[in-house]
């Protein structure tokens, strides 16, 4: 799968594969599911998880320069991003600040300015958790999304619907979700 570019085409093919994978592996248990869609993303400027893991030298400069303390170190032994700088939107989202100190501080090209306007990610709504899919009217994610009506819109049924094409992965929806556990899951790829 071509992950070099951030175009719609590559994403489409990614989806296809993803769906196929799921239709074959419907018996995936919850822990595996959680691993696929967690609540962690890469910092802005990362190209893909593979590329990031390969290039990041864990100097943590991006962690220390982030003015919003959005970038932190992943502590999860069982996970491949363990030890790498990541963003956990539920705790603090990337603010996409103008100066992108994180990208500037990166000496290895793990974070590159050509990808800094997006956080490579896919979002997904867990309908089991989402209030809106459970007869409790809620559009917190829709009203808080900086690209409201585009990246997340209310569909005709009044449920939120994500358009990953237009989403820049800021994760504000994940942060604000009023469910006990965020109903919106994010995943970097």
């Amino acid at each position: 799968m071509d992950k070099k570019t951030h175009t719609a085409l590559s994403r489409k093919s990614f989806f296809k594969e993803f769906v196929q994978h799921f239709s074959e592996e419907m018996k995936l248990d919850t822990s595996q599911y959680n691993e696929m869609f967690q609540s962690v993303t890469l910092p802005p400027g990362a190209k893909s998880v593979e590329d990031y893991i390969e290039k990041c030298n864990k100097c943590y400069d991006c962690v220390s320069v982030c003015p919003h303390s959005s970038i932190r170190v992943r502590h999860d032994e069982n996970e491949k991003l363990s030890g790498f700088p990541i963003i956990e939107p539920r705790l603090e989202t990337c603010q996409f600040c103008d100066d992108r100190l994180c990208v500037e501080s990166c000496k290895t090209d793990a974070l590159s300015s050509s990808f800094q306007d997006n956080i490579v990610s896919e979002l997904n709504i867990d309908k089991e958790i989402c209030h809106s899919f459970n007869e409790r009217l809620c559009y917190t994610c829709v009203t808080n999304c900086p690209k409201t009506g585009e990246a997340i819109a209310m569909n005709k049924k009044g449920n939120p619907e994500i358009n990953n094409e237009l989403c820049n992965g800021c994760g504000i929806c994940i942060q604000v979700c009023p469910a006990e556990e965020s109903a919106i899951k994010i995943k970097s790829y």
């Binding site: 719609a8 018996k27 997904n124 409790r136 009217l137 917190t140 009203t143 900086p146």
Partner: protein, 761 residues
């Protein structure tokens, strides 16, 4: 390209949730709501807005642990908005006030009930003796139960002898009351929510229905989904989630929309949508001086409000106004819904009149699917305050203090001399707090509301609260108002008391007591009763042992009135999902449409008269003559404060879905705080660029009355030239900046328009 990927994505998410369904519950903390076997569920009404959704309160071991929608309730059919789900957190919050407090040496200290009530009674009696009853005042709430407001009314108007009894509905609904009375002759809508499913067109004006009245919005949305031909016009200076359903959005400059409604009337007449025979038979056409005019005069008057002229005034393109009017006229049935955007204005009553005009002009009233329907902000503003008479000119059950017969009737029921009730209205809210500032009112009892936070230009009124003797009965502590309190009394909260709430659609619903009050809290009505006894009104208050006694006495006062509740005793209300008045007898099902067939008052008194006149409606309300409604020739009126060179922006305020009023309740839920943690000011990107403001930057919003440092949210929701701030947070009380100029008729202040500037902090 987009489409494909979205489709793919939906497939994916369906698969994911299917997979998740196999595994363990992904509903941490919510398992108790699903496991209902060991819980007792009690039918009740939601504590929040005026929609009046039915809820089931889940109680386990004497504690409220869950709230879910009542599937049998006709209003919400089991659905709720996200706020209500977290109500148990408010009930069990650490911010609940557990015991009375008295200010000693400038500090609030724990006190006994005996001590606190003795002090209040002594002080109130001293003030009354030295300065007369009018030196005392009561300020209540559209969130208090009808029974609670009833007790306050009796104590202050009937016993103490002052009409200084007000409530926060003055700040939200008074203009709607004025509108209904002057246009239709009687307060409250003619129809019900069930008109929504029968309507072909909706006019949503000054209402962010999606966030402020979510379940009403959901009903509109579902109706439109099923019937794509349904047209929806939104008139609001701000893009809101309500636009989700809108076919057309008109963006007037805040406070400049009156011309639009007149222009719509102009188009309706010119394009032949007016129902002349209805107008002739059912209405008077009047000007501001109440002179009666002909239809031709009205047409001539409207020539000043052609769509082109209205465009110049409002900033809305003429073509859009014409389009909106056509949608309204073409549809067989139309329903208008509005709320604070129209009411909280110095032209509030006029704006309401102009909406009613559209319906009267086209005969789109009194038939299924057509109604001019005002949405109420609070759960019992209609029931307790408008019907219960909790304002300075009213007595319970749609009675007026100025009418001798009414005073006598109410005094007899209260068991007090009729001379106790003063014939002149008391001080309306703004006058009341001004009098507190001036020292004319020396003692005030504030119940179930937070005026230090919620009054417009609030800082101005902190002075009076600080200087005079202030008693606050409140379930939560601290609030901005308790900071100024001399005595704070812990009040039982929702589910800890029984009583009746009356919602937007004239529906009175019963709420049971499910659990014991927390700490030493006591039900507000009993606090007032006990205070009354201590003040020397033993005899008058001896009988009020239960809520039912209070309700029955109040109910008796509604007999024969337009809001007849005689058929709604507790025994019946406990079984049904509310009753919509008039409901004259216990076998009457409640009324769907007022003033027409099926309305028991119309059927028994006016039907034959109307039919012989060839009419289908008879507006029999207390302010109507000859059974006719009124089409008003209301000219345009600027807001009190127009943006100027120094203050170039129009500041407007509002609610968000996740929070409620001054945050005493929703602020107890970490989930809701997470959703919207703090105040912000929405500013259009073009304005932000002009002012050099970046997203999430701290900015200073300033009006002639004050300033506030607040986070900027650069977003194209408000139109250029307008900024928007939600008003919930005590740390960022935007009401300090709001204008306290008020409508001369309804005395409702103009929260919705203030001139402001915005600069980098």
């Amino acid at each position: 390209m987009k489409k494909i990927s979205r489709k793919e994505f939906i497939k994916t998410s369906a698969a994911v949730s299917a997979a998740a369904g196999i595994g363990v519950s992904l509903f941490p903390g919510m398992t108790y709501a699903k496991n209902s076997s060991s819980m007792n569920w009690h039918k009740s009404v939601c504590r929040y807005c005026g929609v009046g959704c039915g809820v089931m309160v889940g109680e386990k071991d004497g504690k409220v642990v869950a709230v879910k929608g009542d599937e049998l309730n006709p209003i919400n059919k089991g659905h709720l908005c996200v706020k209500s789900l977290y109500l148990p957190k408010a009930i069990n919050s650490k911010t609940r006030l557990a015991h009375p407090m008295i200010r000693k040496n400038g500090k609030l200290e724990k006190a006994s009930w005996e001590e606190a009530l003795d002090l209040v009674a002594k002080k109130f009696n001293q003030i009354r003796k030295a300065h007369g009853g009018n030196a005392l005042a009561f300020y209540g709430s559209g969130q208090a139960e009808t029974e609670e407001t009833y007790m306050a009314n009796k104590l202050f108007k009937g016993c103490i002898g002052t009409n200084n009894v007000e409530g926060n509905p003055r700040l939200c609904m008074a203009s709607a009351v004025g509108g209904y009375l002057t246009s239709l002759g009687a307060d409250e809508p003619a129809g019900l929510y069930e008109d929504i499913e029968k309507s072909e067109m909706f006019l949503l004006v000054g209402s962010n229905t999606a966030e402020a009245h979510p379940i009403v919005f959901e009903r509109i949305m579902r109706h439109k989904n099923k019937n794509p031909n349904v047209k929806i016009v939104v008139i609001d200076p701000r893009k809101t989630p309500t636009d989700q359903v809108g076919d057309l959005h008109l963006f007037p400059n805040p406070g400049f929309d009156l011309a639009i409604f007149n222009a719509m009337a102009f188009v309706l007449i010119n394009e032949g949508y007016a129902d002349k025979s209805f107008v002739e038979k059912h209405t008077f056409i009047k000007d501001n001086k109440k002179n009666i005019h002909t239809f031709e005069d009205y047409k001539k008057f409207l020539e000043d409000f052609t769509p082109e002229k209205a465009e110049k005034i409002s900033g809305v393109p003429a073509q859009q106004i014409i389009k909106a009017a056509r949608m309204f006229g073409k549809a067989k049935t139309s329903m208008s819904l509005w709320t604070m955007g129209l009411n909280q204005r110095i032209g509030g009553v006029w704006a309401n009149n102009l909406i009613h005009n559209l319906h009267l002009l086209t005969g789109k009233i009194g038939v299924p699917g057509s109604d001019s329907f005002s949405l109420t902000g609070q759960p019992n503003a209609c029931g307790g305050v408008r019907e219960g008479g909790g304002l300075c000119h009213l007595l319970p059950g749609h009675h007026l203090v100025v009418k001798e017969a009414h005073r006598k009737k109410v005094a007899k029921v209260w068991g007090v001399p009729a001379s106790n009730i003063q014939p002149k209205p008391g001080k309306h809210t703004i006058a009341m707090f001004s009098a507190l500032n001036a020292g004319e009112i020396k003692g005030i009892y504030i119940m179930c509301t937070n005026p230090a936070h919620s009054l417009p230009n609030s800082r101005k009124y902190w002075k009076g609260l600080k200087e005079q003797f202030v008693v606050v009965a409140e379930s939560f502590f601290p609030t901005m108002t308790t900071e100024y309190a001399d005595v704070v009394l812990p009040a039982a909260f929702w589910t800890e008391k029984e009583g009746v709430y009356g919602c937007t659609e004239r529906r009175s619903q019963y709420m049971p007591k499910v659990v014991e009050p927390q700490g030493e809290a006591i039900w507000d009505a009993f606090i007032l009763r006990d205070l009354a006894k201590k003040m020397g009104f033993d005899k008058e208050f001896a009988k009020y042992e239960t809520a039912e006694i209070m309700w029955d006495e109040y109910r008796g006062l509604t007999a024969g009135k337009d809001m007849n509740l005689m058929g709604a005793p507790y025994s019946r209300l406990k079984k049904v999902r509310g009753l919509t008045w008039p409901v004259p007898t216990e076998d009457h099902p409640g009324t769907y449409k007022r003033f027409t067939d099926g309305d028991p008052i119309y059927d028994s008194k006016w039907s034959s008269k109307a039919k012989s006149d060839g009419r289908r409606m008879w507006f029999y309300g207390p302010k109507a003559k000859d059974g006719k409604a009124t089409i008003w020739m209301r000219p345009h009126k600027d807001p009190a404060e127009v943006p100027s060179k120094e203050y170039p922006y129009a500041l407007t305020t509002g609610r968000v879905l996740e929070h409620w009023h001054t945050l005493t309740m929703t602020g107890t839920s970490p989930q809701l705080n997470r959703a919207v943690p703090k105040a912000y000011v929405e500013i259009h990107p073009s304005d932000a660029k002009k002012e050099g403001i970046k997203n999430k930057e701290m900015v200073l919003v300033e009006s002639p009355r004050g300033k506030l440092e607040i986070e900027a949210r650069v977003i194209d929701r408000p139109i250029p030239g307008t900024i928007f701030v939600p008003w919930h947070w005590p740390e960022s009380p935007i009401n300090v900046l709001c204008n306290d100029a008020f409508d001369p008729g309804s005395k409702e202040p103009e929260y919705k328009v203030a001139a402001a500037k915005i600069t980098k902090a």
